[in-house]
């Protein structure tokens, strides 16, 4: 078929295996030892990791024939927009709903898919982690617009569509934590990470949000603030929503510098 401009035919798995194995890292509860179990399913087209986990949950028997407890994981929207089902799949952090078995097998060339919980957050059980610290980060950077009130006050300010689109790109962050999992600096409270910094930037770009920029930036000037970014740029590579994270980091850093140099002029 003649390719239209910009159109690429997707590479598809030609010779699928008869069965697919899922090697799952397990843990009974916080602090308990880690162990591994492998489950085997008949191959079907259109399987994703979540539908495989659902099938395993229905009848949890390992490849050795041992009946075990069903693996626990988080899921909700299954459309890669809620962020809850994030885990490490074949060594890469991503959402399990959009991880298609065909693509994974095509990439690995094998018949086994490895599932692990994210490593930077407390592991609740099996593949489930507790990411509540990410919501705490949002409090620290005041990731909101200060309103006079929610009563009727007419429309907001005129905003050029280009600015709206730039903000939209940052506003799609679903707090999944991929960027933090991939960031070499993030963990044990050493660095607040790109997620919150990008959200600070989102509100600092808004004509009304700008007026409280200092509240946001002051949360980012401490030791674990923006200066802890090591510029590895892993965050932008793993972000499933393609947030311009490095740009947001750069611009926020610039805002902080300007504030440090010239902030006294405003006082």
């Amino acid at each position: 078929m003649t390719a239209q401009n910009g159109y690429h035919e997707k590479k598809r798995l030609e010779n699928p295996p008869a069965t697919v194995k899922f090697k799952i890292q397990r843990r009974e509860r916080k602090g308990a030892p880690v162990y591994w179990e492998t489950f085997e399913l008949q191959y079907r087209r259109n399987l994703n990791v979540i539908s495989a986990l659902m099938e395993i949950r229905k009848n949890p028997v390992t490849i050795e024939g041992k009946t075990t407890s069903p693996p626990v994981w988080d899921m909700s929207c299954l459309e890669q927009v809620c962020g809850i089902c994030t885990m490490v799949i074949d060594g890469r952090v991503r959402q399990s709903c959009s991880a298609l078995v065909d693509d994974l097998l095509l990439a690995s060339g094998g018949d086994t898919i490895t599932l692990q919980p994210m490593s930077k957050f407390p592991n609740v059980r099996d593949l489930k982690v507790d990411r509540s610290e990410m919501f705490e980060h949002l409090k620290r950077v005041h990731a909101w617009i200060e309103l006079d009130g929610t009563y009727s006050l007419g429309p907001g300010p005129h905003i050029p569509n280009t600015l709206a689109q730039e903000r939209y790109a940052l506003s799609r962050c679903m707090t999944c934590g991929c960027c933090l999992e991939a960031c070499p600096q993030y963990g044990e409270g050493k660095y607040i990470g790109p997620q919150a910094i990008a959200q600070a930037r989102l509100f600092n770009m808004h004509p009304v949000g700008k007026t409280t920029m200092d509240d946001r930036l002051s949360g980012l000037t401490d030791e674990d603030g923006i200066t802890s970014c090591g510029n590895a740029q892993n965050c932008v590579k793993v972000c499933p929503m393609n947030l311009p994270l490095t740009k947001a980091l750069y611009e926020t850093n610039r805002d902080i510098t300007v504030r440090t140099l010239f902030g006294w002029l405003e006082e």
Binding site: M1, N46, P70, E79, L100, R125, T150
Partner: protein
């Protein structure tokens, strides 16, 4: 602001719940917000296309009155009209408020809010943020509520699932019992009023466009404790979803709003690549039958037409699928206006819809029915309120696209002051609340214990699958009375088999098995309400279609279905619909122009 002792519990942290939380906190009262997932991950994020409000920035003469007429007409006159009118009047204000909260709505060249077209109207009335408007609106409320959380007005309980209401000796709602989804600990939440904002029950149908949290479980618990459930039989099947192993992913109506065309090859079974089928050999059946609205007829109509062409053998590749084609629009425009949803299609199907027509089929999407509420969002249980998809008001027999987001926020904004008023003025009299919290926790613990102990041969996930399958087959697009009867018998069998499940998880920490069993029981109860409500209603109206009774019958059925729980079966009664503002007229989208548009 000095802290007021009154406390209101909100169950559910989607648009409706967060809208109510924000208003209550702003008014100076305390909120306990209970949600099964972190609220920022609620199902509202899945809403794609936009939010309706007659702001009339396109010089089309749009107005809230026309929005009101479109909504009532689109809903086939089953909605009580006064709250619909109030919602349509509030809609522009709601959009402006989101604008002020920083939602990155798409804008015009002048920097004003841009609006797109959606189904069931001839106006550009839908404000949008790319193609993930629900996500963007939810995030802005999440942000405002987080601010109130830092000020101590809102306390979130995320990862808690409501199991039941706490009712006092007078049958008044005094709080609720919820379960911690990690420890399975039960806790009573005392409250001066409770607002239900838990969304829809799509999971009753197994695979739907809904999130995995949309079980309807908490609402079913309210129903089993005496709350009236209204118009349960009205389930919207969205015309365009992407069939999948684990769910039916929504393909937003905005794809058609931006010019997407639905077609099938004129020759049944035509196996050619769609791009090689010339225009003259394509059947654009919606455009042919509905010249004015074309691909933007209301959802129930589009769904039935798509269903029918597949039944008649025209489905693409002989399967249950039709083309939804955007390839005549430039790739750049599509990326800008619909990027988010096109990514979803490409991600899950592998084809790029900018170059290859999408293959879609209808999927269960939304419940017009829900908890009965009055015009102030009060249920029949004193102290219990409901807002959003979990209440029955506004949409009648069919919801128009982009009306859900506005109805969620409207419901929350009305429920909040109503709950405050109630909490401030309620006189407790001699109602006894001694020990009611402990008693309800004990009752719920007993249910949990019996589920944990149960070691029968039945598999709860299998039961859920069977429920979803029979509900989808018999209680969606086309309904026959004999099959509805058979469905209820099947549900009774499943209820019986439920009593013989074993949870197959020896580790109770963070187990999914106990919560799922609780949800499944509640889904089975609500499934009966939906099925029997459909069986009783011998007419066709909106989303409810019976070939044996193909016409709307206002004489006998212009009335709201009310279901009340009893141990044997739901008890049905009917109440008149308030049609005091717009006289019911025949709903017909096939004419050149809808009668409402002058």
């Amino acid at each position: 602001m000095s802290s007021n002792k009154l406390k209101i519990a909100i169950v559910g942290g989607g648009l409706a719940g967060l809208a109510a939380a924000m208003k209550i906190a702003e008014a100076g009262y305390d909120v306990d917000l209970i949600s099964v997932v972190p609220v920022k991950r609620s199902h509202s994020v899945c809403a794609q296309g936009g939010i309706n409000g007659a702001v009339n920035t396109k010089g089309e003469g749009d107005s809230p009155a026309k929005h009101f007429d479109d909504t009532v007409y689109g809903g086939d006159f089953l909605a009580d009209q006064p709250p619909v009118k109030r919602m349509c009047e509030m809609a522009p204000e709601i959009i402006y408020l989101f604008d002020r909260m920083g939602v990155p709505f798409s804008r015009t060249n002048e920097g004003l809010l841009d609006f797109r077209r959606f189904g069931g109207t001839l106006h550009h009335r839908t404000a949008f943020a790319g193609a993930s408007t629900g996500q963007q609106l939810l995030y802005s409320l999440d942000e405002q509520v987080r601010k109130w959380e830092t000020e101590g007005k809102v306390t979130k309980y995320e990862g808690w699932e409501m199991l039941s209401l706490v009712l006092d000796s007078s049958g008044v709602c005094r709080g609720l019992v919820a379960m911690n989804l990690q420890s399975l600990e039960l806790k009573a939440f005392k409250a001066d009023a409770v607002v239900m904002a838990t969304g829809g029950p799509g999971l009753i149908f197994g695979k739907s466009t809904n999130s995995q949290t949309c079980t309807g479980s908490a609402v079913s618990a309210c129903y089993q404790q005496g709350a009236k459930y209204a118009n349960g039989e009205f389930i919207q099947v969205h015309p365009t979803s992407i069939p999948g192993e684990d769910k039916l992913r929504l393909m937003s109506e905005s794809a058609r709003g931006e010019g997407g065309r639905v077609w099938v090859p004129k020759k049944p079974g035509d196996a050619r690549n769609p791009r090689e089928i010339p225009e003259s050999e394509r059947w654009y059946f919606l455009e042919e039958k509905y010249p004015a609205y074309g691909n933007l007829v209301p959802r129930d109509i589009a769904t039935r037409e798509i269903f029918q062409v597949c039944l008649d053998g025209y489905g693409v590749g002989g399967q249950n699928q039709v083309y939804l084609d955007l390839t005549h629009i430039s790739a750049d425009t599509l990326t800008r206006k619909l990027g988010a949803i096109l990514e979803i299609y490409e991600m899950f199907v592998g084809d790029d819809p900018r170059y290859v027509p999408m293959r879609i089929f209808p999927g269960v999407h939304y419940s017009m029915g829900g908890l009965w509420v009055d015009y102030e969002q009060r249920t029949n249980i004193p102290g219990l309120f409901a807002a959003g998809e979990c209440d029955y008001s506004i949409h009648g027999a069919n919801r128009l696209g982009a009306n859900s987001l506005v109805s969620c926020v409207y419901g929350g904004f009305v429920a909040a002051p109503a709950a405050i008023d109630y909490a401030k003025s309620v006189v407790r009299g001699d109602a006894d609340s001694n020990g009611i919290y402990e008693e309800e926790v004990r009752r719920q613990q007993e249910i949990n214990d019996s589920i944990i102990k149960s070691d029968g041969p039945e598999n709860q996930y299998k039961i859920h699958e069977e429920l979803g399958k029979i509900m989808t087959e018999n209680v969606t697009v086309v309904r026959y009375n004999d099959r509805l009867k058979a469905t209820d018998e099947k549900i009774l069998e499943l209820i019986d088999r439920f009593k013989n499940i074993s949870i197959n998880d020896s580790n109770l920490w963070a187990t999914q098995a106990v919560p799922h069993a609780r949800q499944l029981w509640n889904m089975l109860q609500l499934a009966r309400v939906i099925t029997l409500g459909a069986l009783n209603r011998n007419e066709s109206r909106g989303a409810h279609y019976k070939p044996e009774f193909p016409e709307r019958n206002d004489e006998e059925w212009l009335k709201t279905t009310i279901a009340e729980y009893s141990d044997e079966a739901p008890v049905f009664s009917y109440e008149p619909v308030d049609v005091s503002l717009i006289k019911p007229r025949k709903r017909d989208y096939s004419k050149g122009r809808a009668t409402a548009i002058k």
